[in-house]
Symmetry: C2
Subunit: 360 residues, 2 copies
DNA sequence: GATGGACATGTAATCGATTACATTCGGCAT
DNA sequence: ATGCCGAATGTAATCGATTACATGTCCATC
């Protein structure tokens, strides 16, 4: 025995063992577990005792094969180490796991090979549904996730022209609100630290930035749009770029497309002697936990991260169980501007801060 | 049709469909996919063409049932939103997913019900192995994970008296090193911000703290041991406790059992006017990404987070495939003290900083 | 006392793959 | 010509559950 590769594992009790021990048929055992009310008290007791004695647990693969379900959903995450997604995942996990679903987390990490593997997994029927946090429909070289004909829901990143439910926030509107806040404080020279141009969130937040400026009658200055890619590193580099500007040309405020970049930027310019918010007001986006931990605390758009996850999960469950009926295709959750310590009116001389750094 | 609850999904091609189309038996199809070399060129071509035409993918539940494997491992994480674990998870994911394993992430979140559900899952044969990042063997009310007779590996938190492989760092030694660093700088009044007393990591790090003091001939002062629980919040409260002390009684340095608490503490005392590291040197533990982002950057013990995950995953794969032979039970990975900006010699007047706050 | 219906349980088909064993065929040695 | 061997493929058992349908029992009703 055990001549093949692999480890011999103690054989688990099967339903037939329980049936034999209880002196009933396998059907009765199955029914006792699935719909206890249809078997009479006395039989039920015998069966349950046998279940306990044998330590029986149904084999899920067999059940899945029979009922054509897996009770597993796959969640595609761009980067599991990103705190924003980690918090969305918590909401997803809460909802899904109390509904009895297991979670396979597909950490894409920018790797097409991984993505392809997961697409194959889903196509092979390993998941009853998929939650997309990744801004695009997953693909493998010759397959597309949609071919799996599996319920799909997207969250956080809007995926245009797809007709499955999506749970997002109003990125344009909240970005406009964030920049509007800076304008109300009296800023007129406001930079934008952007995400990767191809990203839909970036496009929407940039649009919000532009709208706010336009409404205030402030001319857009392309030189104030700094390139970024949502990483802390990008924030550091944008900070350096800012420092390289002549003092008079420097903006008095900055809106970053996400918190991590904002924090990287603050750290960099502060280390060089700029005071936040005195010399530069900064607004972030996302509301990650660290936005409230950093120094100074970051004014930011806080997204309902858990709720985004929970809502998307609930939609997916609805899709998986009762079908599409009555589902809203495009759910928007409220996100709010949280005022903290990184924003303040510009210094006396309006338009720029001529005194510059080194005041601490 | 589709009269039952649930959504009708397009039926996927089965192996029999492929066999029919290719004009061969199901066995040949299966063999073509599993061991191409045993079927002759011409047949293989016909089968592969049929596979492509039908879009066939093997049904994993059926295969799992037959071969008694799932190619899934369960990872138990205390808290998925904790950045330390998120990074360990990345290492796990890298190794496991390239080996073809799927990942079910059990986010325990302190909930015994969740834990129980996952134990049942594993006992039901839903996973080929389990990775424990959680410092204890998982339990359900009447079951213990060990009863599942599934390969187990623990990482990060040492689980005493269990005889499965464990991948950790030398917590006692590195904690001693961290405190030793403060002593070398000239500090003699060193506080310790602890974790929950029941936690094994806490116990080991406390032991390291004590050893360092003892070696330096510094008397331990129970009043300098602040209660904590590894959360940012606990750091904030410890910071308040520190501020409540009279200036002369205040320690000049502090070792925190993890980075999040260290960061919370720094933020709090800094907001009250204390300068870090001038008025208080702080050393953390873990080396999370934010330890390098915060202000000032945090001197800390950096754990090889990805590597811990990757190594544990590799051990588990070994256990699952070739059995226990040749496995080290207790693997220690190196962790190093990373010197950054939060530590410095104490101020002139040795023993305490009488000038106190309000210097910025 | 037959009839029928409600209820509890049993029998056996089924889900879709893998694989041990059986079969077929061609070639080669005797 | 016979028999044997090995290669290629086919046949059917098997994994462990769920569940449609069949069966049997008991009691109420006419």
């Amino acid at each position: 025995m055990a001549k093949r590769t692999g480890v011999t594992r103690q054989k688990a009790a099967r339903i037939a063992d329980v049936a034999r021990l209880a002196g009933v048929s396998v059907a009765t055992v199955s029914r006792t577990l699935a719909r206890p009310e249809v078997v009479i008290e006395e039989t039920r007791a015998r069966v349950l005792a046998a279940v306990r004695d044998t330590g029986y647990t149904p084999n899920i693969s067999a059940r899945n094969l029979r009922v054509r379900k897996t009770m597993v959903v796959l969640v595609a995450v761009p980067d599991i180490a990103n705190p924003f997604f980690a918090e969305v995942l918590q909401g997803i996990d809460d909802t899904l796991s109390t509904a009895g679903y297991g979670l396979i987390i597909a950490n894409l990490a920018g790797s097409p090979e991984k993505e392809a593997r997961y697409v194959d997994l889903v196509c092979a029927g390993q998941a009853d549904g998929v939650l997309l946090l990744c801004g695009h429909v997953m693909r493998s070289p010759d397959r597309d996730l949609r071919e799996a004909h599996v319920p799909l829901v997207a969250a956080c990143e809007y995926i245009p022209r797809e007709n499955f439910p999506q749970v997002t926030i109003d990125n344009v509107g909240t970005a406009r609100e964030a920049v509007g806040h800076l304008i109300e404080l009296g800023h007129t020279s406001i930079a934008y630290l952007s995400g990767p141009k191809s990203n839909i969130l970036e496009q929407q937040r940039l649009e919000g930035y532009r709208q706010a400026l336009r409404e205030a009658g402030i001319a857009a200055d392309a030189g104030l749009i700094l390139p970024g890619d949502f990483t802390f590193r990008a924030g550091v580099e944008a900070g350096r770029a800012l420092l390289a500007l002549e003092t008079v040309a420097r903006p008095t405020a900055l809106f970053a497309a996400n918190d991590e970049m904002a924090i990287g930027l603050i750290k960099t310019v502060h280390a060089a002697g700029l005071q936040i918010p005195d010399d530069l007001s900064v607004v972030g986006f996302d509301g990650i936990a660290y936005a409230d931990y950093c120094e100074p605390t970051l004014t930011t758009i806080v997204q309902p991260r858990r709720d985004l996850g929970a809502t998307a999960a609930a939609e997916l469950i609805a899709l998986m169980t009762i079908g599409q009926a009555g589902l809203r295709k495009n759910i928007k959750l409220p996100a709010t501007l949280m005022l903290r310590d990184s924003t303040r009116p510009p210094r006396k001389s309006p338009g720029h801060s001529s005194r510059g750094a080194r005041s601490g």
